[in-house]
């Protein structure tokens, strides 16, 4: 059982369909014969769902909230919170069905609507050894955090209404198809792209969308002149820490079981995060003469991102190397390259999640170890790069189109005075004292 992995999620999609049918059949024939859910696997997936929700609220909300200026902290945490609420409903209404059911003739590209509003799912429906209701819940937490990550790129300058509209469309048009391609029975999974817990689906996807958004929305008022230093990194440390802890649910939970694969995925997650944090810290210490708290926590997140696609395919030594490499490369991307190119990705959604996701996806091909996971035997750097490039292109184009539509409908930015006075008081009527 411990060879079950995300690579085989294509199978899981069908499995859940099968489970539902089988369950229904059983229920008709002999009601008391409930499916053989494993209580231990179920316990771990219940816990994992809670952990991944905690990544977004309060984890990401605080990670981002601490890095903006004080006048924008509430609007920043509000974004994560509102996204959490909106995506939950969209996922239940249509997202889950479109990502994880069979799309018929279009199945290589998108699932169907047979489970819209979760119709057809019942108490006997199973995904692998757990109830399908739980699998829906677990996947919902992924559909929450991915859009929430994007918001870091345009922090401190987007209208709340525009943000909500953009995210709703983006979930259905970008996240759901890409999730289907990799995990739901679509073509990237079939082509052998390995993505254990969402390096491609979650991080590259969100990172690229963030970059495109930062470019289209434009820089913050006063960028380069005004002090935009993080107003309270204690909040960001709490956020980064809860992201780290919650990431155990994200990565080890992606084993969809409570077994040795989940265990090694957790250990790999820890090792990569720690290594990347130290790598970024020492790189900065050497270059900028001081090790900053912003640096070490950014490094930790970079390592967590990079190990996400790899967590259930590599061994701990592989995770260690992935951590070190991603820490240094993301430092260069977020601090040096961004500065050279001059775009304003406020909180480095691209520099950390996009770049970290790309590094991780490629290195998964390098370090995949069949002793950890039989699926690792099929790993190929070429296939990984193919998956990365395809996702980048699709996410970039689709995100741009959505943003121009939202701009035409409601406009993207508040007025200059509102932005300078702060989004908290102007968009939400509240401030932190």
């Amino acid at each position: 059982m411990f060879t079950l992995n995300r690579h085989m999620r294509a199978a899981v999609g069908s499995l859940s369909l099968l489970g539902a049918f089988a369950g229904a059949a059983i229920a008709q024939d002999a009601a008391p014969a409930a499916p053989a859910f494993d209580t231990g696997d179920t316990a771990w997936m219940l816990t994992s769902s809670a952990l991944v929700l905690m990544m977004t609220i309060p984890g990401l909300a605080l990670f981002y909230g601490g890095m903006v200026r004080k006048k924008n902290v509430l609007s920043t945490v509000m974004q994560s919170f509102a996204i959490c609420c909106l995506m939950s409903i969209l996922w239940m209404v249509a997202g889950y069905s479109l990502a994880f059911t069979d799309g018929g003739s279009l199945n290589a590209y998108l699932g169907g609507m047979s489970k819209a509003f979760l119709s057809g799912v019942d108490m006997n429906s199973a995904t692998a050894t757990i109830p399908e209701y739980l699998f829906i819940m677990f996947q919902m937490t992924f559909a929450i955090i991915t859009p929430a990550l994007i918001a870091g790129a345009f922090a401190e300058r987007m209208k709340f209404s525009a943000m909500l509209l953009f995210m709703a469309i983006w979930l259905i048009v970008v996240y759901v198809p890409v999730a289907h391609w990799v995990w739901g029975g679509g073509f990237l999974g079939s082509d052998g792209v390995l993505d254990f817990a969402g390096g491609t689906v979650v991080h590259i996807n969100a990172g690229v969308a963030g970059l495109v958004a930062a470019l289209i929305i434009g820089k913050r008022e006063g960028y380069g002149q005004v002090n935009m230093a993080p107003h309270n990194l204690v909040l960001s440390v709490i956020g980064a820490s809860l992201l780290w802890v919650g990431w155990f649910g994200f990565n080890a939970g992606s084993a969809v079981a409570s077994n040795a694969l989940a265990s090694v995925a957790m250990l790999n997650t820890q090792v990569a995060a720690a290594a990347a944090a130290l790598a970024w810290m020492f790189a900065e210490w050497i270059v900028a003469k001081k090790p900053s708290i912003l640096g070490i926590i950014s490094g930790a997140v970079a390592g967590l991102v990079a190990v996400t696609p790899a967590a259930g395919f590599v061994n701990p030594t592989g995770a260690l190397i992935i951590g070190i490499i991603s820490g240094v490369i993301c430092y260069i991307a977020a601090v040096k390259i961004k500065h050279a190119l001059g775009y304003d990705d406020s909180l480095d959604a691209f520099g950390v999640h996009g770049v970290g996701g790309i590094v991780g996806a490629i290195l998964t091909g390098v370090f995949a170890d069949p002793a950890i996971n039989e699926a690792s035997a099929g790993a190929s750097v070429g296939t990984q790069i193919y998956g990365v490039i395809f996702t980048i292109i699709y996410a970039a184009i689709a995100t741009a189109i959505i943003l121009y539509i939202v701009k035409a409908l409601v406009g993207l930015r508040p007025t200059k005075q509102e932005e300078i006075e702060g989004l908290d008081i102007n968009l939400h009527g509240e401030t932190v004292q």
């Binding site: 380069g224 002149q225 002090n227 935009m228 230093a229 900028a288 977020a334 040096k336 500065h339 480095d348």
Partner: protein
């Protein structure tokens, strides 16, 4: 009576207060302020976003003293707050017409 108002570097507060109590000053009021001055132009980079830090944290100290004590007060502050590096701050002196101690209603130098 005068008010001596000094803008100093924050970490000098304790030394300044000690210097002032040494010359017999028994009260003062401190405010956290941000200073803009010659000590500017230093740029910082956060995650690749460069900007000039133009406002630096300073403390403003206000001390009401009898006219006779002004000189000693200014000297004490100058000596204690000085590091010799740019940004040490300023002292301004101005006259007040009246001083009252709220608790007792005492006025003038009795109020200090």
């Amino acid at each position: 009576m005068k008010i001596v108002m000094a803008i100093i570097k924050p970490f000098k507060l304790d030394e300044v207060r000690e210097a002032l109590t040494a010359i017999g000053i028994q009260g003062l009021t401190v405010t956290e302020v941000k200073g803009y001055g010659r000590q500017k132009g230093h740029t910082e980079i956060y995650r690749g976003a460069e900007y000039a830090v133009s406002f630096l944290p300073k403390l403003k100290i206000e001390i009401a003293v009898g006219a006779d004590l002004v000189e000693k007060t200014v000297e004490a502050i100058t000596a204690a707050a000085k590091t010799g590096q740019i940004g040490d701050g300023k002292i301004f002196v101005y006259s007040i017409d009246q001083a009252v101690r709220i608790r007792t209603g005492e006025t003038d130098t009795d109020a200090l």
